[in-house]
């Protein structure tokens, strides 16, 4: 069952097409970010920049001037919220997942868990808004962390459960037989075994939180709490005539998740497989 020449050509053709389709828009974004402003308003477009212009990156990465301050504080807020929510969500999800996986907590409850995040955010946003408002908690990173944690939790629990399910139960039983308690067993036996799953879950959670826009749009209003997606939306709608600036913000905002995704590509597969393939 060898491949014929025609088949090979077809195969490589499709592969190239796919590569172009997936990377094309990203490459273009990157090119825009380093093209001179005038290159970007030529008709028809110049695909290769006439000169390399890294000025947007310098200005975005320095605290001088409005753009840099806006971008950097949004970056800080995004890292804080996504990171904080990921950590807390995992801390809560691991015991919960253990309960679902090993203590026969009802699956119906797990699905109730899941159903909550599947509901559109507009279902929750107004009461949450009023509540946080009455506690004076709007426009705080903590508030977003709370909301994101809740948003990530079911998903993280589900992934962790699916992954704990496939761990050999005998190893835990062995620990119990040796006299260890549940907490000790989870810490010393389950967690080390589930480390790849935890990494996958953490990464997927982080990406989801990093991506969130709706709550951030409504719950934050200034530099102290605004996250990157909201900042980018502001950037792109405001008085920015240089598309290169928008493009460079986009590139910078994509870098962290893209690096994570590529670095943890194997984990995504295992995470997703355990999660969605196994159910």
């Amino acid at each position: 069952m060898k491949r014929s020449l025609v088949q090979s050509i077809l195969l490589y053709g499709c592969a190239l097409l796919l590569a172009a389709f997936t990377t094309g828009p990203l490459l273009w974004l990157a090119v825009m970010s380093i093209s001179a402003p005038t290159d970007l308003t030529e008709v028809p477009l110049r695909w290769i920049p006439s000169e390399l212009d890294f000025s947007r990156y310098t200005s975005l990465l320095s605290l001088e001037g409005g753009n840099g301050e806006r971008f950097l504080s949004a970056l800080r807020n995004s890292l804080l919220t996504a990171g904080g929510a990921t950590v807390i969500a995992l801390l809560l999800a691991i015991p919960a997942a253990y309960a679902f996986s090993r203590r026969q907590a009802s699956m119906v409850l797990l699905f109730a868990f899941l159903a909550t995040i599947m509901m559109p955010p507009i279902t929750y946003v107004l009461p949450l808004y009023s509540t946080f408002s009455s506690f004076g908690m709007l426009n705080h990173t903590v508030t977003l962390i709370i909301v994101y944690t809740a948003m990530l939790l079911p998903f993280a629990t589900w992934l962790m459960k699916a992954n704990i399910d496939v761990l050999p139960v005998e190893v835990e039983q062995a620990a119990f037989m040796e006299g260890a308690g549940t907490a000790y067993t989870i810490r010393q036996v389950v967690l080390p075994l589930a480390l790849p799953a935890i990494a996958a879950t953490a990464m997927l959670s982080f990406l989801v939180a990093w991506d969130e826009f709706f709550y951030a749009l409504i719950f934050t209003n200034d530099l102290s709490a605004k996250t990157l997606p909201v900042a980018i939306a502001d950037f792109s709608a405001g008085r920015v005539t240089d598309y290169g600036v928008i493009a460079s913000v986009g590139v910078l905002a994509t870098l962290p998740p893209a690096i994570l995704a590529i670095a943890f590509q194997k984990f995504i597969v295992s995470g997703l497989v355990a999660g969605s393939v196994k159910g």
Binding site: T22, L40, A150, F214, A247, A258
Partner: protein
């Protein structure tokens, strides 16, 4: 397999998660439900709240714009998830072949998925720009169009262009799941079919596709639920325009809340949208159930 102590433990382990979810989802959900039967408005002044029964619902259900928004949302959901499914499976099949550069390509296709939705929207808005967009320029230089076109300014194409951007970002997820499922197809099955005389297409249709149908179903339903609440990409790319042709249900509710300040009425829209989501979720539940019950088969 549970000891008495372990049964108690179950609740201790679950308690923190349950508490948080109750606070952040259950209580607000109930609250939204309550709001939807009132005439509450967003206001800085203390305003009287009246219970008005089903009035909001009557209004919502007779609101042709809302119906339009719902249908638009359905269109968006069905078309984008459908395309993601087809493209995802095709890509998975491609990536399951052996060829040089496969590992690299597998790594590359995860990239769009890592791009934040907002960046995705902004990037595509630039690409679709009527004057300086890459799409017009590319098609023009390739000789595929003779005049620059308005892609997201034209109601005939706007929604489809948003869908294209959404598909670009989300097909990798489907592709990854499909690929993972493909890798579990026992080699013997395809070999057996080959020996029985089945060609590649027949093998794909009769063996491969049924085998991956379960996981595929799960991820597609998951995507459906996600697509149904689409908001951010629309907010940034088109703001609902042109002529409302991309205004989706979530956007509609957002507007009712924060533009028109009618929280009671908005809540009733939200409940209706949530209701449809709930139907999808039940669908999802049965899909996963079938999936786990039937094993990979």
């Amino acid at each position: 397999m549970l000891g008495r102590r372990q049964k108690r433990e179950k609740w201790i382990l679950l308690a923190p998660a349950l508490a948080l979810l109750a606070l952040v989802t259950l209580i607000p959900l109930a609250n939204t439900l309550w709001l939807s039967f009132t005439d509450t408005r967003i206001s800085a002044l203390p305003e009287p709240v009246h219970f008005i029964g089903l009035e909001n619902y009557v209004y919502a259900l007779t609101d042709p714009d809302f119906q339009d928004a719902l249908f638009r949302t359905l269109y968006f959901t069905i078309v984008s998830v459908g395309l993601e499914g087809i493209l995802g499976v095709a890509v998975a099949v491609l990536l399951n072949q052996e060829f040089r550069g496969r590992t690299l390509l597998r790594a590359l296709i995860i990239l769009p998925w890592a791009v934040p939705t907002i960046v995705n929207a902004v990037a595509w808005r630039l690409i679709y720009h009527p004057d300086y967009g890459a799409l017009n320029s590319l098609l023009f230089q390739l000789g595929l169009i003779s005049d620059y076109r308005s892609w997201i300014g034209d109601p005939a194409t706007a929604m489809n262009m948003v869908i294209l951007a959404d598909v670009w970002k989300n097909f990798p997820l489907v592709a990854y799941v499909a690929l993972a499922a493909l890798q579990t197809v026992p080699g013997d099955l395809n070999k057996a079919a080959a020996i029985e005389g089945a060609g590649p297409w027949k093998r794909f249709r009769s063996i491969t596709l049924p085998w991956i149908a379960g996981p595929l179903m799960v991820v597609m339903v998951l995507r459906t639920i996600e697509a149904f609440r689409v908001f951010d990409i629309i907010y940034v790319m088109t703001g609902g325009g042109p002529a409302d042709s991309t205004k989706t249900a979530s956007f509609y509710v957002y507007q009712e809340y924060f533009n028109y300040l009618r929280s009671g009425s908005g809540a009733s829209y939200a409940v209706l949208v949530a209701g449809i989501s709930a139907v999808l979720i039940v669908f999802y539940y049965s899909a996963t159930k079938r999936q786990t019950a039937g094993g990979a088969a």
